[in-house]
Amino acid sequence: MTTNLIDIQHSDVVMATSNMAENHPVGFQWVMKAKERGAKIIHVDPRFTRTSAAADLHVPLRSGTNIVFFGGLIKYAIDNNLYFKDYVVHYTNASFFLDPAFKTPTDLEGFFTGFDHGKTAYDRASWKYQLDAEGNPKRDLTLKDPNTVFQHLRRHYSRYTVEMVERVCGIPKDLFVQTAKLFCENSGPEKTGSVTYALNLTQHTNGVQNIRALCMLQTLLGNIGRPGGGVVALRGHANVQGATDLMVLYHNLPGYMVWPLRDAHPDLTTYLEKETPKASYWVNKPKFLVSLLKAWFGDAATKENDFGYDWLPKRASGDAYSHQHIFVDMYAGKIKGFLADGQNPAVGGPNAKLARAAMQRLDWLVVADIFLTETAEVWKAPGTNPKDVKTEVFFLPMAPAAEKDGSLTNTMRLIQWHEAAVKPPGDCTSDAALFVRLAHRLQKMYAGSKKSRDKGFLAANFTYGNNPEEPNIELVLKEINGFATQDIKDKDGKVVYKKGQAVSTFAHLADDGSTASGCWIYTGVINETPDGKIINKAAGRKPADEKDYLGHGWGFAWPANRRVIYNRASADLQGKPWSEKKKLVWWDPDAPGAAPDKKGKWVGLDVPDFAPFLAPDAKNGDKPFIMRTDLVGGLFGPLVDGPFPEHYEPVESPVQNFLSKQQRNPVAKIWEVPDEKNVLAPVGSKDFPYVITTYRLTEHHLSGVMSRYLPFLAELHHSHFAEISHELAKELGIQNGEKVTVSSPRGKIHVTAMVTHRLKPFLVDGKTVHQIGVPWHWGYNGIESLPGSKGDITNDLSATVGDPTVYIQETKAFVCNVTKGVV
């Protein structure tokens, strides 16, 4: 997230679009604190949840229509002049001129310029700025020119009227206006509002655009980088943030550098040429990449061999290898062996039936987890005869956090260290131990291989500390942080870092091989004295106090322990806080400067996310968004499916798209899977007339591995259930508590009907649209004596379709049927 949970208390309005009270209850205390201070709480959710119960305003919207809602707010803010003018003019690309050829769906019937119907992809040639002689974007600070980003934005969202919001989202006009007023009027120099989101926005075939829409709204209102503002991204797992930073993902290198593609990045030089921008902090990318290669290949990585760049696998294409690709390709027999480490795709992923069928075709499967998951016992899945499953399965019992040392990065980029309280029982080990033990065995098998393809793996070090089988985790973190591979001297020949000493900031990383760093954004988490004494900042335990309410002494937030990123935006052009009430960092002209003879420095309540001595009046001293190539907030931001978010209906929808003739995201990823393993319902299907959304409950965790086996949690819900409105229950003659069958073109599940006032049908284009809600925590394993801890798998209903940018599935909005009884 751009901000910090603690800071939410300073919001004047909080718009939760996620179900924060249920999924992040302890973080929600700051929303309650804000409320006690007089802030208004808005909850936007198809269902009335425990978050709604705590909110001032519950705004029910039909699943899959977020962009219409945000678009409506953007239009409302512009039409009523409620956007933060100075912020928008100077800190965003609103004033930039766009290529005259560029057109939006307002003018092209649902498409942006450049759509190729044959390739079903966009040619994005016209999605760019007009540049002046020096190659800088042309600007119109009055924002009046029709070719400016701002005017395009205004025109693009001109169709997102209050009436349209009511018609598409099913939000009554008055309620929407009340919401828009409440949110937009609580932003500006004196006020700030924050918005939370989670998988409510991401799990759609326009997931990334959903989030862009929300970020654009926050940018327009001047809510980024300021106290009480921000985009509150709430992640679901203890270390989703960290696993993403360290890039347990197919498309990037650790630290958010693209993973090499065969055709685009055949060698290091090409890679660096293509991927290093002219401006922004990313100009340092070569230092980060070379340091990473040094961390992986050690001494074997030399300038001569491009630091081992060749040893990195090259992707054949960008549209491959993602979570959903894995199971489609696994089902096709392309994948033979599979490691499921602390993940349970037999339950937790989209189209789980396909995932199970795919895993049953593997030669071998390794599952490492705390409990015997449905994935480990995929050969026991209902309707499966173990004899038919030829897959060899290896199950390794693992240790939870309390039984091992290590660090986790929370949703506010805060790296926190945990220490082992006890030894894991029996054969249980840490995942770290598992990986190095496997690595060592494989290195032994490859020992002496002369093949170049084995060199990289053989060059890599998997021994940390004295015991090769039990890595010293702090030393692993040190490698991630980075260290000097040789004595590093300053220009006067004074040793700055001794060989092997941890580097204290990513500003000191080099592209000549003199530094190694496994993930540059984490640099600084470990400090080390020349005599080798390690200071682990992740283990910092200084509580917050009135002088430092953000608690900089507790853990370490990347980058550089900044708690609110882009916080330069909390000050105006001259570097003064926009308002005393909303100050965070500011320019102190009298503070000691970069050199003894210089004055002036950015100071404040947070570590400035800015060059510390770059004066406001210096070049780019007024551009806060330092990670963006153009150094300003991107109201215009080209993605594969458009530079502005445009509403398209979910792939499965009961209604047509009222905004354009284009029904669904034209570049959405739809997988063809054989054996009718991924059948989709047509628009307005009579067989599957209801909208279904899937979600999580406070008392359970994801696929249930860490909750269904725990009596304390398993006893809190009677059984797997579906939430159904009284209206729909009446139509179908369903009583609260009776069994119902929920079906989709992919499968069906039997659950208990929870008939509730918390769901209400939507009035969409004047017609009633029913929506049901089904949590997805249940599976066929659990506690024998608590039968309710077992249940059918909700994801058997969801489809293998994806967002075109990140390939996330659409489990928040698809269609289903509900039938009384077990059929």
Binding site: L5, V248, R262, Q343, W364, G518, F712, L713
Partner: protein, 192 residues
């Protein structure tokens, strides 16, 4: 299943004591003392982080004789102030749980049961699977779009999933391990 339910015999014992107390009369003092001694007094405390959602609540884990006896919030944590949700409050049952397997298990092709195996045997077998699959399916070079041959050092026959539930250091080691073997199917929960 009823975890942590004090077993009956303990009570049989105390009930006898109860009689003694009852019979002899009314001195409540020893009982009061018993009811007010703190279970975690002599326990060793470790600083930890809640393993559930990404709020990252600081936890204090109290252990005695190599067994966790209590897990609660760490009040010093600036962003959580020692509070927990029901999952965080139940963390102890991730460790102390009769359903938790503590032996490595192997399931042979077509078999309908697990077999306990020594860890080393498991590691050797798994390493062998990685090795053989890699040898059989590794793609060292292939033609690019422009037709020229490019070194790709890629292994598509093995996929890896997870995890957002493991530590940063473990994620790093997993990425290093997978990638340097040539894996490209390398994903975790963040994608979904």
């Amino acid at each position: 299943m009823s975890l942590n339910r004090r077993d009956f015999f303990k009570y049989a014992g105390t009930s006898a004591a109860g009689v003694a107390v009852g019979a002899r009369g009314l001195d409540l003092a020893p009982v009061e003392a018993a009811a007010t001694t703190l279970r975690i007094k002599e326990a060793k405390v470790a600083h930890s982080v809640c393993p559930y959602c990404a709020v990252g609540c600081g936890q204090l884990v109290y252990a005695k004789d190599g067994k966790i006896v209590d897990i609660e919030g760490d009040p010093d944590t600036p962003h959580t102030l020692g509070r927990l949700c029901p999952k965080g409050a139940a963390t102890i049952q991730l460790s102390n749980n009769p359903l938790r397997p503590t032996k490595a298990l192997y399931r042979a092709p077509g078999s309908d049961k697990w077999e306990e195996k020594p860890l080393d045997w498991m590691y050797d077998q798994i390493a062998k699977r990685y090795h053989d699959t890699r040898e059989k399916h590794f793609i060292e070079k292939e033609k690019g779009k422009d037709g020229r041959e490019i070194t790709v050092n890629r292994l598509e026959a093995i996929a890896s999933l997870g995890s957002a539930c493991i530590d940063n250091e473990e994620c790093y080691l997993l990425t290093k391990f997978n990638r340097l073997l040539g894996l490209v199917y390398h994903e975790h929960q963040a994608r979904i």
